[in-house]
Amino acid sequence: MAAHSESIIREPLITGKDITYAKITNDILRPVENMPGRAWWIGFTIASLGASLWVFAVSWTFWYGIGEWGLNKTVGWAWDITGFVWWVGIGHAGTLISAILLLFRQNWRNSINRSAEAMTIFAVICAATYVVSHMGRPWLAYWPLPLPNQFGSIWVNFNSPLVWDVFAISTYFSVSLVFWYTGLLPDLATIRDRATGIRRKIYSVCSFGWTGSVKTWQRFETVCLILAGISTPLVLSVHTIVSMDFATSLEPGWHTTIFPPYFVAGAIFSGFAMVQTLLLVTRKVLGLENYITMFHIEAMNKIILLTGSIVGVAYLTEFFIAYYSGGEYEQYTFLNRFIGPYWWAGCMMYGCNVLMTQLMWFKKIRTNIPISWVLSIVVNIGMWFERFVIIVTSLHRDFVPSSWAMFYPTWVDMSVFIGSLGVFFTLFLLFIRVFPSIAMAEVKLILKSSSEQAKKKLLQHGGLDQEQVEFYKEALVPFDSVEIADYEKL
């Protein structure tokens, strides 16, 4: 799929000197084939402590009941569904990167799709745990599935958005998993080929007998394309349906037609932010700066800027419609976000998501790694507050003022949320130890065309438009993995 020659004005997707196929394999498989370093162990210890906290808090909830959370007669959902929507949203970048960017032939996705997809799967797992644990009777969590049963003529309610949700999330999870795993096959075969003993056996089973024949590659690419086609509508549908949990209700602040596109944009927004958060650390710790370059970072920042601005427009639209509709309750709900008791949550939401991301208009900020990392976290804090504001701030003061109430989280609420972060990072840290965190095969595809050394060759070969060359050199300045001095001689 890789283009055979590429214009010099495009920035390199792989930097570094003397990059060979072998070096790519060696670089990327270093964490898989060696004992982990101290950084990994520290991270893993913290993450698994978090995961244990999650197990404890969720078991506590199961044992005593949902009353252990801070919910009440007025606020029936709070941190649980906030967490659910937040995690589902985070899970959106993976499919977008693997499916839509694949269809659009965005080769830069090749370096980040593996981690993004893994992250998607882990995020959806975290979301799914919320779906089960927020139920009053979680041991009956299978009842919303349309299973044939002997309870009599009992069926599910296909009118209920929660049933749509069950379908949406389970489809999304299974398709993402299949797509991710299919992509892994050639890389697993590579590990198998280099491994010995029991590891070889395990990877051999996992790689489904990959032979690397032309026919295999051809089928592999076809399957990937087909799966991309299947996944593409899911990128839009999943969060559309999640948003319908709110949009189809009567609740002022929920009952808005703008929710589907607004939620999808928000999901991609938060998903890319999470990819950014993870990859900026991963590339440093695992020494993958040559494969995840400044170009990738900036490209993701641009997407964050775009989706953040879409979300901002959606916010404005909501306010306008609340004003324009003349709906008494809706107007109050939106005013309440600023002047009500949860004004600080509203400020976090609008501040983090809209105001902070507008900084990304500046290239200096887009290409500054520490600032990008901080902003990516700010975005996810903002997106958590967005869901909190939509859910809690709408519910706590709806139609009948006698029932207005405040929501105060308990230690269990907080532990389940912090714990779910632990689960997520535990899974992610295990992932980078057993699977290549970058799709080796796909990166190798673009080595000959889009790498820095290929571009250098072009430069050395000469005969290029001088203006374009200058442009290229200038673009390389922010790259932290490029020796800009090398280009003085050229």
Binding site: Y64, G65, I66, G67, G70, L71, N72, K73, T74, G76, W77, H134, M135, G136, R137, P138, L140, A141, W143, P144, I154, W155, V156, N157, N159, S160, P161, L162, V163, V166, D245, T248, S249, L250, E251, E328, Y329, Y332, I339, L395, R397, D398, F399, V400, P401, S402, S403, W404, A405, M406, Y408
Partner: protein
Amino acid sequence: MDSNKKYWKGLEELNKTPEFVEKNKHEFAEPIPIEEVLTGGGLGGKTPRRDFLKALGFGVGAVTLAACQKVPVHKSIPYLIKPEEVTPGVANYYASTFEGHAILVKTREGRPIKIEGNPHDLLSKGGLSGQAQASVLDLYDVNRLKNSMRDGGDYGWGQTDGFIKSELAAIKAGGKKIRIVSSTITSPSTLAVIADFITQFPTTKHVAYDAVSYTGIIQANQNSFNKAVLPHYYFDKADVIVSFGADFLGTWISPAEFIRQYVQNRNNKSLQNKKMSRHIQFETGMSVTGTNADVRIPIKPSEEGLALVALYNAISGTTLPGTKPLKNNIADKAIAIVAKELVAAKGKALVVAGSNDVATQVLVNAINSQLGSYGTTIDLDNPSLQYSGNDAGLVEFVNEMKRGEVDAVFFLNANPVYDYYNSKDVTDGLKKVRLKVSFSDHADETASACNIIAPNHYYLESWGDDNAIEGYYTILQPTINPVYDTRQAEHSLLIWSENPVKDYYTYVRKNWDANLLAKGGLSGQSGWETLLQTGFVKAAENPKGTYTFGRDLNAVAQTILDHSDLLADGKVELQLYQTVAMRDGKKANNPWLQELPDPVSKVTWDNFAAVSPTDMKNWGYEDGDVVKIDGNNYSITLPVLSQPGQTQGTISVAVGYGRTLAGPVGDNVGKNAFPFHSLRNGTFQTTATVSLTKTGDNSPLSQTQTHHSIEGRNSIIKEATFTEYLKNPAARTGKGKDHKDYNENNLFWQDYDHPQYNWVMAIDLNACTGCGACVVACSAENNVPVVGKAEVGRRREMHWIRIDRYYSFDDNGQGGVTKEKEIARLEDLDHVRVVYQPMLCQHCDHAPCETVCPVLATVHSSEGLNHMAYNRCVGTRYCANNCPYKVRRFNWFNYWNDARFENYLQNDHTLLVLNPDVVTRFRGVMEKCSMCIQRIQAGKLKAKIEKRAVRDGDIKVACQQTCPANAIVFGNANDPNSEVSKALASERTYYVLEELGVQPGIGYQVKIRNISETEA
């Protein structure tokens, strides 16, 4: 043609070869090597097939046996000989009496499970208070004493009787005093027993006192008219009612009866006749009555006397000596207007005062006399007997004890150690008494200070009678065998006084045969049986006399003015009051009552100091700040609550809290405010001056409602003035030309058919007084769990019906400031209007909860009801979120067996109070009002058995049934002649949040206030 054909299997058989003959001898043609196997190496081999089979067989058998662990078997044994009157599954109703009201006790399989009003009850016509509804729970209170006790240890009844008889004999010989101390006894038979006891022991005196006393009124009537009685008031005959601090709709004398009377001039029927009474309330703290008043003027306790003097002057046209102008300008102006209105309504006017001060009540008598109220709105000839206690009598008794003159004392339904203003005097005095006996069924504060506790039966286990109003006699009959080894107090007194009648039933029977049956035109066995069925007799009324006040008022006025000066000493004035739920605190151990939100403050499980919002700001208090209240040589610490309508410079504190030996539910809930009482001119005064100091602590109160204004949302609450109503009965309902039909363009929703029944409800906001009886009735009927103070504080009370209470503030007489932000800018927060709205599941025809449930746990019925299938619910709480009325309740915990909720539900004995027709709910499921579906089903079944359609009024839901105001009407909307159809046809009907298109099934009638536009 028989056949001789022979069939042969082969030539061998035909030919019978020797080989064949030999082989044919054996069963199997080929020999089976059994012997070989058994003797040879077959068995000796390693794990032969048979061994394996044996092992397998044994293994399976052993595992099967091991799995057959015996599960506990609870044998249920049916009646071998069925009691004639008990049919399992069918309720029996017994006529009885509660605090003078005729009631019906619903029993199932021999146990009382619900108290219902007797529809023929003269006082409240079937309405009952929350206290009456809750009383059934106390029967199952496991903390009741289980046998008689002496000095804290068990003591058999035989021993007890022996001991007391010998003591009494000795005391009689010694000639010292014997006292029977009780709260007011309205039972003629009990009074007769006491009289007999006095005959036997002539040094005995019966001292009756009431924790919350009405001595002031009784004394005043003695002074004014020579009749020491508590009058019977007729609020239904009054067009203008002026109350000075009398909470007659909440706690004053006979509230359930007064609610019924009061509402008769304000309900739908009255409005349709273009008639509405006018009610002006002058009071200190916000009472239920004040919230219902058309005009409410906050006054300090020290201004009450001055205001009455001013009113008297204005009505009589004279000026009493010493009259001082009221400093309170608004009250002063109001008095002038009120006087005119009262005079205009002469003969149909009524002035009442809550004060227990004799002088104040004498002045009220004078005013009523001027207004011609005697014989019309006040009846002194058929008086109320509900309270006859005498404060001076109790004080004298305590002094007698202190002087060591008393040798024996019997406490019957009296707890002076808790509710006497100087309880140390009582405990000190009791130490000098030789024989101290309490009939209390709890080891309460007084009983614990006694030698002997001879626990009384609970009223549901007792025989007896009641006489609340002169001429109205109700019968008390037991509905269950005594649960514990208790004995009726009267029975004990009969035994101890060696009465020839040994058994109280016979005594009651004789008393009725001799004295009472005849009053109702009954006699003999048949008369008695009729009485047991109807529950009461009514004697002919005494002719109502008119009384004219003729005494000199100068001294009275002087006393009142002196008292005012005393109170107005610059400190904070304290007003003591009773809450609707807890009253005088005798029922503090009842969790239903503790969790019943106070109608006004919505506080549960606590008392508090009510402070006006202005004072809160001036004094720097926040809600829940704990302050030390110091006055009358007593001090307590209580959290403060901002109470709109509370007069500035005053606080109100409820009595009835701070019990220390009420039982695990009632102990240490709130603080005891009784000691703030003081004795003045022979009566206990409910006012005092106190000083407040902040302690720095904050103790949050558990309120069921924390936002108090309606935020201008007039599709939830609609109210109009009487003037507007007269011009247009549909005023402010939003009906008319501009009224949009929200169901017109209904694209998405299928309409449900209600072929036979369409159960709906009508609630008249103008009738509802907010008393909360419906909340308790609903809890009792539907097994609603109690969750306790902490959970209520987390906004998780489970009540299926709640009463929303909204304040609106007057802005320079413009009225109607309801928005939080605007209220914050107001300076005058004293003039507040209140509206109550009972809120329960609206049973929407297009219910938003139904569409969102993923598992179809909440669905619509063909009778217009919104059902909840608990067993199907998985607990996503989506339905509750999507309910615009927020009436769904989630079982956050397993209230039935979670050890952290140690309440009545977890006790095998108390569980017997549950209604067997209503399932209890497990944790994790949603619940809500079912419109008493079990009652609907029962009504339909009864009609079916009788081969007829359900008649209107056959089915009454629990909230409707107990409502003393008849504010709730339930019925079939398909029947155009049903009460509910007629009520909903009222012009005032509107539907809450109608514009959402959910088609609620409950119609509300606009609240009407009898005020003119300009009036503040």
